[in-house]
Symmetry: C2
């Protein structure tokens, strides 16, 4: 277990001798001057030490380097870096997936509690003492997590970290309130429940949501400016409208100045158009000019301006964010590099040190992959990694390594007859004729479904009928899937998203058949997914492939935006429930002018009685699920004023504030979503235009591929080295490689490392030239990347919100 050589680390970390020194260091950068590449040995490093202690200090260095690299990856600021061995223990405790999952589950549990708290969803109602106890339990868990954080960060850093401080305060309030509820055995007006999402946002796994929120806050200042312009015109037009139309007694929209403002606010969302115009229009036809001018200015000009301003800010922020992340990673790599070099050779990292690092950074990685990663980094072929090589660290760590197959097909090793059969199938499924035949089948299926559906009479439960055509088409799809899997090999087949889609749709269709056969009522919805097969038609045209591919690339980001929206929904839902639960019911709002929509009456026709319903009493805040649906309706904006006026007529006219605020908040989020989609697509198109690369090449070959050749002598040498270091155990992957090398009877084997391409890779290529400038500026000014970020954005809000990361 001892090292073969006696290299001494250039820097010793978390050493008892130095820890006293480090504690005093308060400037947040780290404990040594690293960015300048000047190696200043810390006090105590010069002490001669025994082999064992040396080995231990290397292990410590590996661990700290791994932590730096992780911080670089997660965009954690370095001032939260653990400073001593005690902090390290807390850090390690708080930084593993078990802890993260616990954090997430606690936060989700807290949020889900609102399903069971009064006003609860009927079938999930829990007694007060049950849900209050659950809440206390969850809060205790959160408190425990915070304590761990306190231990790791130290008190000084802890109170400097704004997000954590906010969390602590919210936790405190929630604690008191939960105890009050337990004591009183009844819920009071708990609007603070709206703050619960903070616990979720703070989770490690919700980094994307945090980034979205920050982006929203950064876009706010210009947004608010334009919003003021919008509201200003609204008020001016409200005064004009009041002057012009209040004389008309039939016009209820402009009776008072307040009515006038509310009407024009709703008109801004177009929800009451043309009704709001009609009384005035019926009296004087020229009054339509007022409304046309108002809508042209507000809706068609300023609203678009809003989008333009947000889009522009968004654009700039995206680039600056990328720059900041890039420089932060670079800085992390530099920190790590300094910890891995030895005093004897201060400008290179040897395989042994790299391997030590990777054992901490990626504990799941096999010895073979660690070695291959080293080889991929080390493109100059020297025995040591230079800092320049090491800069590519993040590009290669995610690679999945596989030996390059000598043959083309998965069935190459099969006997001759089988090979020929599979080869034939392979040629068939790859042929254009086969593809177009399948398109034809799908198109026929589509027309068939349309015609068949059209022939059905209303009221017939379509789901219970199994037409023969359905079985025929399904058989064809099944055969196609089998042919493709056997012809391409399961690996190749499932590596394409489109094939996965085909497969799952076909499997669902089969499940549907089984459902029909066994008449399992609750799963009938599967049957209804039949027409989804038609989606395959969109593979034909290049543009659709691009759009759908980009859609898949955008999906993670879209999901996080959706989650962000849900967090806003949650807070508004809680507030809505606290104030408006059970205020609307059938026939409730007879005093308002939207009474019709809430009416529920029995109308007697010639042939019997019929229930005539306005249904809008269903859009209520009676429990959290109803609230979510109501808020979605408010987001869609159409007819939202009916819900608003209904609630207002049952409460006070201050309720309108809630609805208007919600409209403006969703407007912000929606504008950001639009800007995001715009930005992503335009970026993608510019990228492919710049690199003369067809958007989304037809099959595979996307993603990043590294190639590394390993010779037999090298492999044996490495195996030897590893044996020396760890003994025989846990080296099976390396041994396998050596065996494969011997078997292949070649002097070397080529390994391929693959990973899918991320937005960051695209950005790297897009900003190629600028990146060099950034690097130069970075090494020249020696600023912390986060500071550069703020300077570039140049807005005080940006720095305020950014520090909450």
């Amino acid at each position: 277990m001892t090292d073969g050589d006696d290299d001494v680390p250039l820097i010793l970390t978390w050493d008892d001798a130095t820890s006293g020194l480090l504690q005093d260091d308060e400037n947040g950068v780290g404990n040594y001057d690293i960015v300048n590449n000047v190696a200043i040995p810390t006090a105590g490093a010069a002490d001669p030490r025994g082999q064992n202690s040396l080995c231990q200090s290397w292990e410590m260095n590996y661990q700290e380097a791994a932590i730096y690299l992780q911080e670089g990856e997660n965009n954690d600021k370095f001032f939260t870096h653990p400073r001593n061995a005690q902090a390290l223990r807390a850090y390690l405790f708080a930084h593993n997936h078990l802890f993260y999952v616990m954090e997430l589950l606690t936060a989700v549990l807290l949020m889900l509690l609102s399903l069971s708290e009064a006003p609860a969803v009927p079938f999930l109602r829990l007694d007060v003492y049950v849900h209050a106890t659950l809440e206390l339990l969850a809060l205790v868990l959160v408190a425990f997590e915070l304590c761990m954080k306190l231990r790791w960060l130290g008190f000084h850093t802890f109170i400097r970290h704004k997000r954590t401080m906010v969390k602590t305060c919210v936790l405190f309030i929630q604690f008191i309130e939960a105890i009050v509820v337990l004591v009183r055995q009844t819920s009071h007006l708990r609007v603070t429940r709206a703050l619960r999402p903070i616990f979720l946002v703070d989770c490690r796994y919700c980094g994307a949501v945090r980034r979205n929120l920050r982006q929203i806050f950064q876009s706010l200042p210009p947004f608010i400016d334009i919003l003021l312009l919008l509201l200003f015109f609204m008020v001016i037009f409200a005064i004009l409208g009041f002057c012009l139309f209040s004389a008309n007694t039939a016009d209820t929209y402009f009776k008072t100045l307040e009515d006038s403002i509310v009407s024009l606010f709703v008109l801004l969302t177009t929800a009451n158009f043309p009704d709001v115009m009609m009384p005035a229009y019926s009296k004087n036809r020229w009054s339509c000019i007022f409304f046309i001018v108002y809508l042209s200015i507000e809706l068609y000009f300023i609203m678009n301006l809003l989008l333009a301003v947000v889009f522009d800010t968004f654009n700039g922020v995206e680039k600056m964010k990328f720059k900041s992340l890039l420089l932060h990673k670079r800085s992390a790599i530099e920190h790590a590099f300094q910890l891995l070099v030895s005093r004897q050779r201060p400008d290179g990292v040897s395989l042994k040190q790299f391997d030590g690092l990777m054992r901490f950074y990626r504990p799941q990685m096999s010895a073979r992959d660690r070695f291959l990663t080293f080889k991929a980094l080390n493109q100059s072929g020297a025995t040591m990694l230079s800092l320049q090589d090491f800069y590519k660290f993040y590009e290669v760590t995610g690679l999945k390594w596989k030996a390059k197959r000598s043959g083309e097909y998965w069935f190459d090793d099969l006997p001759r007859t089988a090979f020929l059969i599979f080869k034939g199938i392979n040629l068939l499924v790859n042929s254009k004729a086969f593809q177009y035949a399948m398109y034809l089948v799908v198109a026929t299926n589509g027309i068939w479904i349309l015609v068949e559906t059209n022939k059905l009479h209303e009221g017939v439960s379509w789901t219970r009928v199994v037409p023969l055509s359905y079985i025929i088409f399904l058989t064809i799809y099944g055969v196609e899937v089998l042919l493709k899997i056997s012809g391409l090999g399961p690996m190749t087949y499932f590596s394409s998203g489109w094939n996965l889609f085909d497969f799952s749709v076909t499997v669902f269709a089969f499940l549907g058949l089984i459902v029909l056969a066994f008449e399992m009522e609750p799963f009938y919805f599967i049957v209804v997914l039949r027409p989804l097969q038609l989606l395959r038609l969109f593979k034909i045209k290049q543009r659709y492939r691009n759009v759908l591919d980009t859609m898949f690339e955008l999906f993670p980001r879209m999901a996080s935006l959706g989650l962000t929206l849900i967090i806003f929904y949650y807070s508004f839902a809680i507030v809505g429930m606290e104030f408006f639960a059970d205020v609307v019911y059938p026939n409730c709002c007879n005093t308002s002018n939207v009474a019709d929509s809430y009416r529920q009456i029995n109308v007697t026709f010639g042939n019997g009685t019929k229930l005539e319903e306005g249904y809008y009493y269903l859009n209520n805040f009676n429990n959290i699920l109803s609230s979510f649906v109501t808020l979605f309706e408010l987001t869609v904006v159409n007819n939202w004023y009916i819900t608003m006026e209904g609630v207002t007529s049952q409460t006070s006219h201050w309720s309108r504030l809630y609805f208007m605020t919600f409209y403006i908040v969703t407007m912000v989020v929606m504008t950001i979503i639009v800007a995001f989609i715009l930005d992503a697509f335009v970026f993608r198109m510019n990228y492919s235009r710049k690199n003369r690369e067809p958007l989304g090449d037809p099959e595979g070959e996307k993603g990043i591929v590294f190639e590394t050749e390993v010779s037999q002598t090298e492999a044996l040498h490495t195996l030897d080295l590893y044996k020396h270091t760890f003994g025989i155990s846990s080296l099976s992957s390396l041994q396998d490689m050596c065996v494969a090398l011997e078997r292949s009877e070649q002097s070397s084997l080529v390994f391929l490392g693959r990973r899918s391409r991320t937005k960051s890779d695209l950005s790297m290529k897009m900003y190629e030239e600028e990146i060099q400038e950034w690097y130069e500026e970075f090494s020249r000014t020696n600023l912390q990347p986060d500071e550069t970020f703020h300077r570039d954005l140049g807005s005080p809000e940006a720095s305020a919100t950014d520090s909450i990361n």
Copy 2:
């Protein structure tokens, strides 16, 4: 009248000797190889000729050069260039403002006729024979214009010019129909009236509308692709919806597959949400998932995708258009240059030739300005203009020249006392304190108006009350305007858009007072404009100034987009009137499920009878003005299905096609408008970011300024030269300059040429680097710029639509 020297033009144009030759030339480029800068004397040019003939041929050359430059400016293709003296006469006849105005008026008259044709606007109704005769008259005028064009273009070119051919066909049809109407003395189903806007679009003054239309057509292919995706998902969801909800008898939205498709189409526009969901939702709460998923995919994803794709295309098209225009202008300049150089000195244009050109190109320009323009171009100081100098031709022709004032203020020449007073006023109005005091006054005024309006009771005719505060505030504004005008001088004052705005609002307010004093009923609306004063508050913040400045810059383009929209409206209005005139009336649509909106009943309350109205019968196609209002309502999209269902219930369900087509067309135009606003703003912001220039500097100094110094000897020399050429008449401007020079007792005078900055100037700066590449490519490949344009766009549609220019 004879030249002092005997320079011979390098090329002789429209000469009788050469005209025979030119007629055979069919390749459309022109009649000589010019782009290569190789001067190939045409046959006949070598003939020795007398002075007089020489002078005449110079005049001809000037004229053709001016025509080339005009073609470059207007983006007319060179294949429509007049080829011989006869074509020239027709060309000159058809290319002056009188002719253009006639063209425009004829087109407008034709379009306005629809006000008086049945179904006519009541107070504008004309007898059939009157409006048919008017129409015939207008059509004869159009025919006459076309004849002139035929003479100028020649038959071959005429039938190659697609737009003209389309116009001819439409003219022919309209002619026959107008005669039929006259003979039958009644109107038949004249849907072809919808084609009338073609005459307007073809007008010289409507070039911007043509460009918009072309841009719309160019954005269509990607738009249609995404639209298909949208419709595809709609059909899939319609099938699903039909399967899921048709069993519910209370649900009228999904009864048949057609109902289902229509409901989801309307849902796409959100106009029937949440009503369409309610029956299903009231039966099963989980059915809301169907609608949420549908809206998320269609409305929030694909619709934004549509915008992204259009925006991207738009972006590319804008740049390519700029490139094409730039190269076309360059090519025009090269053509003109070749016509202006003499055989003796083939690489320079002398002042005499330049002056000759300008007399044709800008007949209104004074001799002094022509001379100053020459000086501005001639920056090297040589006696001749090189081709490089001449390339800047379009940048300097629009300049307005003025002698640079020696002093700073307009009151410099006044006596001492007056000077001091005005100087004091000047200092006052330029002080920050004065500005902020005025902002304070405006803000107070705003609050005052709000409070006062709020205190008024409904029904009080606010317009007839003149509060004292109004008079006080108005006095303050009046004094401010007077102070500013006297302090800054009228010229400086009115050169700022903001001051103009202040001035006009104040003047309007005074007019309002007068209106009140004399109780002139019809002008009461002026009084109502009071709150517009508040708009001045937005000068405080830089961002608002930027936004409003950009708004003013965008205004011409926005207006042309508006006009484009109106043209679409016109066509749809005609079709709507032909099919749906008088189909809806109060209480008409009792069979449909929107009957409520068309109902008009007397409801008896405790205290009397009240008319309860649905008002939607007002949204009809009974005449063209009502149709426009109805179409605007359809554009705003909210509740549009009520109009659609009303009309459908009175006609056939094919009527829906009209409304859906209209929705899609306006969606295209609106998306283009959004893309345009986005593009313009982002471009503007990028521009100011790139050039480190604050967006919209506070006062003046915008626009392009050229400076030229004229010495006394130069001036006298020029005067001498001009006298030689034209005699004394029409040289007053030059003489004035000489007098001014003598009076100023300085050896030289500096003149400033100013013009406002156009989008083209901004683009020049934005694409600086690329422009050089374009030029190089242009001179290398020697392609016609229009061809380059098509090649870059690479879409067949683009070239098809572009050639209609």
